[in-house]
């Protein structure tokens, strides 16, 4: 089976090269036969990569340790879900994933445009196939340079095939982490499609909006995936890691955020080009930058260039990726410059008070935000270049600069829906802004009066802007429904439904804005108004954190032989005003190290990975969050004594004697159990971190709403059948307008 996969991968390389060549021939000569052949070849690449992926997955599911990848990332005791998703836990696997998703996205767009965009499609095919060739080529290069570790089907020599694999890092045995990489990669990959068509448009000088119309959906799909990937990462960090935060401005997090920022700007500015034919240079430049940032994101995660929690070490894949990024940037810039005359539009922005202006302002703010994040992320390299000293910036710096921009963007997210295209008349403006501004002002006053709003001015500003945006979008939905009813009657509900389904793009976008407002309100509340304390407690002790009293009721200890772990934890009772608010059971899990020293089996348990199981109670107004870290220093002498005993035993026993080995194993099990019991009876003190995080749940809710809004905007509407009408044009126009 793996042989089939390996053969398919090699064939995919040749096929994708053929795709590039035939697409270029078709593009240059206009011969449809070559174009059709190149399209088929691209479909074939998809088929071949599918075979490779299936082959690799089956190797994982079968725990076929003859493949280096499987031996290094999975084990027989790994749960099936994580066996299946372990594929992208490695460099070679993620390269395969990238290429595979690219083949899907490209096939989809080529199929959708097979009878359209005849001048653009061949060039776009060549670009997409070229990128695919790069990634497949990187993988195949791993057969020549095995140390690069890029070949997914690298096989271990028969003598080296282990009986058991290394298994998956327990920190990653979480559903969110299982799908986080493919979500991010899909986001990166789907941006390749608008990029390829932009290049095609530039080459063929067909720089009107047709390339945008056909690839707009792909940009939106990319946005949804990237958002999902970012949200999953944040959610995992919050619920699994012992620090209780969701975003650390870590370089790898930022690497995924950068294309999201420019991609969001792109989604807005292409609307201006579609409507008014403006911003053509801006749009092609923006998609080039977004694609380059997507490649950079892939590169950053795997290159070890920046110090990060996600330290993957130096990877050989870095330099080739950098070369690709440089080629993309330089090539595209030259192309854009050479087409500047075709790109310039005569139209200008009519008025500052128009949706076009707001979109342009929104773009500037997004770009500003991206520049800030980019600067901060690469600052260690920049500072080293300029001062010889590597310095890095931490979260406070990022927050200081990104927060004001975020406030501006959130406010704009409300203004945009309120103003019309081209020009808004001043009286119309007053009508539009009156209610939302009042709501925002009211919210501000209430917060200052009742919630000490002035103590946290940035949070206050975010709340006020969020209130404004929610009110503005709410007003739009309300008045839109009313206007619809005035135009064509019906009940409020049917008018509302008709309103949003007739214009999914606009109202889907409004829903996204609602989601973002909720999300930022959650962020503001949870970061500025968090209560956090570390308590050192023994069983029976209590502590006070703000309004809450926290009691360490009793310890817990558990052994899991399947997952090879011991969990020491605590039952924590949380009360407020005497009433129980939550009963939480955080714990710390210690996983046996698979390469443990057999003569120190007890110590081995505590030398492997340890994870925090967070105790959490979510609520609409606040989350209560605890993590526990037992102080096991008092156990050290006991563990050492036990290990010494086992070491003496092991020396006296013949390793081949199975009965004796069984006896020792049983004794070890007994020793572990007695350790667990000891924890219950002679419990050492534990560090308990206790956080009260207000409004965190709105971050997740807001994110989900935003993604649903984007999906709604993406969804094709039921189109009335278009019929050709053969009367006078004006009458035709009038009738068709009425019908829709």
């Amino acid at each position: 089976m793996s042989a089939l996969g390996a053969a398919a991968l090699a064939a995919a390389l040749l096929t994708s090269i053929y795709t590039v060549v035939s697409a270029l021939i078709g593009a240059r000569t206009g011969d449809r036969r070559w174009v059709d052949s190149s399209r088929r070849a691209y479909y074939a690449v998809f088929g071949l990569l599918l075979v490779a992926v299936v082959a690799l997955e089956s190797a994982f599911l079968r725990s076929d340790f003859s493949l280096e990848l499987v031996a290094g990332n999975s084990s027989t005791t790994t749960p099936t879900l994580y066996k299946a998703t372990a594929m992208w836990g490695s460099q070679a696997g993620s390269l395969l994933l990238w290429a595979f998703v690219l083949s899907i996205a490209g096939s989809a767009v080529l199929y959708a445009t097979r009878n359209r965009l005849r001048e653009l499609a061949p060039w776009a095919t060549a670009v997409m196939a070229g990128v695919a060739t790069f990634f497949i080529g990187l993988m195949m290069a791993g057969t020549i340079f095995p140390s690069a570790e890029t070949y997914p089907f690298a096989a271990l020599a028969a003598a080296q095939v282990p009986l058991e694999g290394a298994g998956l890092n327990p920190l990653l045995r979480h559903p969110a982490m299982a799908i986080h990489p493919p979500m991010l990669y899909s986001g990166y990959v789907f941006f390749t499609v608008p990029f390829a068509f932009a290049i095609a448009a530039l080459i063929t000088r067909r720089v009107d909006a047709s390339w945008i119309r056909s690839t707009r959906r792909f940009a939106l799909i990319a946005w949804v995936f990237l958002s999902l990937g970012l949200a999953l990462g944040a959610r995992w960090s919050y619920s699994e890691l012992g620090w209780g935060g969701y975003w650390a401005w870590d370089p790898v997090e930022n690497a995924a955020l950068l294309p999201w920022l420019t991609g969001t700007a792109f989604i807005h500015s292409i609307m201006v080009q579609e409507r008014r034919g403006m911003l053509r240079v801006w749009n092609v430049s923006l998609i080039v930058v977004t694609f380059a940032l997507s490649l950079l994101g892939t590169f950053l995660v795997r290159s070890g260039v920046l110090q990060s929690i996600h330290a993957f070490g130096e990877s050989k894949v870095g330099p080739p990726l950098l070369v690709l990024i440089a080629t993309v940037l330089i090539g595209s810039t030259l192309l854009i410059i050479s087409r500047l005359d075709d790109l310039r539009s005569e139209r200008r922005i009519d008025s500052l008070l128009s949706r076009e202006s707001m979109f342009l302002l929104n773009n500037l703010l997004f770009i500003g935000l991206a520049v800030i994040v980019f600067w901060g992320t690469f600052f260690p390299l920049i500072s080293e270049a300029f001062t010889g000293q590597e310095s890095s910036l931490a979260a406070p710096w990022y927050n200081r600069y990104t927060t004001p921009v975020a406030i501006g963007l959130l406010f704009l997210a409300g203004v945009g829906p309120l103003v019309a295209w081209r020009r808004v008349d001043p009286a119309g403006l007053r009508r539009a802004f009156a209610v939302p501004l009042s709501v925002a002002a009211g919210a501000g006053v209430l917060l200052v009066a009742f919630a000490d709003g002035l103590a946290e001015p940035f949070a206050l500003a975010l709340f006020v802007a969020g209130a404004f945006t929610l009110a503005a979008v709410g007003q739009e939905l309300w008045r839109g429904t009313a206007a619809r009813r005035a135009l064509s009657g019906g009940s409020p509900l049917s008018a509302f439904t008709a309103l949003i389904t007739r214009n999914r793009r606009r109202y889907g976008g409004y829903i996204v804005h609602i989601g973002i407002a909720l999300l930022l309100i959650g962020v503001a509340a949870s970061s500025s108004f968090q209560t956090s304390r570390d308590l050192r407690l023994e069983p029976g002790d209590s502590g006070t954190v703000g309004d809450y009293s926290v009691t360490y009721v009793r310890p817990t200890s558990e052994i899991d032989p399947v997952e090879q772990k011991i969990a020491f934890g605590a039952i924590i009772d949380v009360r407020r005003d005497g009433e129980q608010v939550a009963l939480l059971s955080p714990s710390r899990e210690y996983f046996a190290s698979s390469a443990a020293d057999p003569s120190a089996p007890l110590r081995g348990f505590f030398e492997g990975e340890a994870t925090s199981e967070v105790g959490r109670k979510e609520g609409a107004a606040r989350d209560i969050w605890t993590a526990v870290q037992p102080d096991l220093s008092s156990f050290d002498p006991v563990i050492d004594r036990g290990d010494a005993l086992f070491a003496r035993l092991a020396k006296r026993v013949d390793p081949a004697d199975e009965a004796a080995a069984g006896f020792i194993a049983a004794q070890q099990g007994q020793a572990i159990r007695s350790l667990a019991d000891r924890y219950l009876n002679e419990t050492p003190p534990a560090e308990i971190r206790f956080n009260v995080n207000p409004f965190v749940i709105w971050i997740w809710i807001g994110g989900i709403v935003a993604m649903l809004g984007a999906l709604f905007a993406l969804w094709p509407g039921a189109e009335a059948r278009r019929r050709r009408v053969s009367d006078v044009y004006a009458a035709k126009l009038a009738r068709e307008l009425q019908r829709t």
């Binding site: 290394a166 200008r348 000293q389 310095s391 220093s633």
Partner: protein, 141 residues
């Protein structure tokens, strides 16, 4: 004011704002940043200034208790600088792992760490050459 003039003004305003932002970024970042140091460099630099110290947790040096104490050495080994740390200890923290901790040397040669500033790097598969983790603990993609 004719439209061309208006556009020019808008362009100038936008460019000035961009320049201002750039200057602010550059200025504050160089001031706000912590220099990264290895423990050996830190010893040479002496007490006082706060640095981001990157290194490995020295074997056998971890003491749990009210505060966490451990020794930090350069990646390639060498003399360990004692560290006193208060705050969250990340899950992957253990001997032999690479960590980053922010703090300043005090007069006794002990690195007094800032609260919650300890970052432990997730163990990497590609670190075989360092011999960090013989039991190949795998990282995410």
């Amino acid at each position: 004011m004719d439209p061309a003039k208006k556009r020019q003004i808008r362009l100038v305003v936008a460019l000035s704002a961009a320049v201002l932002l750039a200057v602010a970024l550059i200025y504050t970042s160089f001031n706000a940043a912590n220099d990264a140091m290895e423990p050996s460099e830190l010893l040479a630099a002496g007490p006082g200034t706060s640095f981001d110290v990157t290194g490995k947790v020295a074997a056998g040096s971890v003491e749990n208790g009210d505060t966490l104490r451990f020794g930090i050495t350069d990646r390639d080994g060498g003399r360990a600088v004692p560290v006193v740390y208060d705050g969250i200890v990340p899950d992957p923290f253990r001997e032999g792992r690479e960590v980053i901790v922010t703090g300043a040397l005090n007069d006794q040669g002990v690195l007094v760490a800032e609260k919650d500033s300890l970052i432990t790097k997730c163990p990497s598969k590609f670190a075989e050459e360092h011999g960090d983790d013989p039991n190949v603990i795998i990282e995410d993609g």
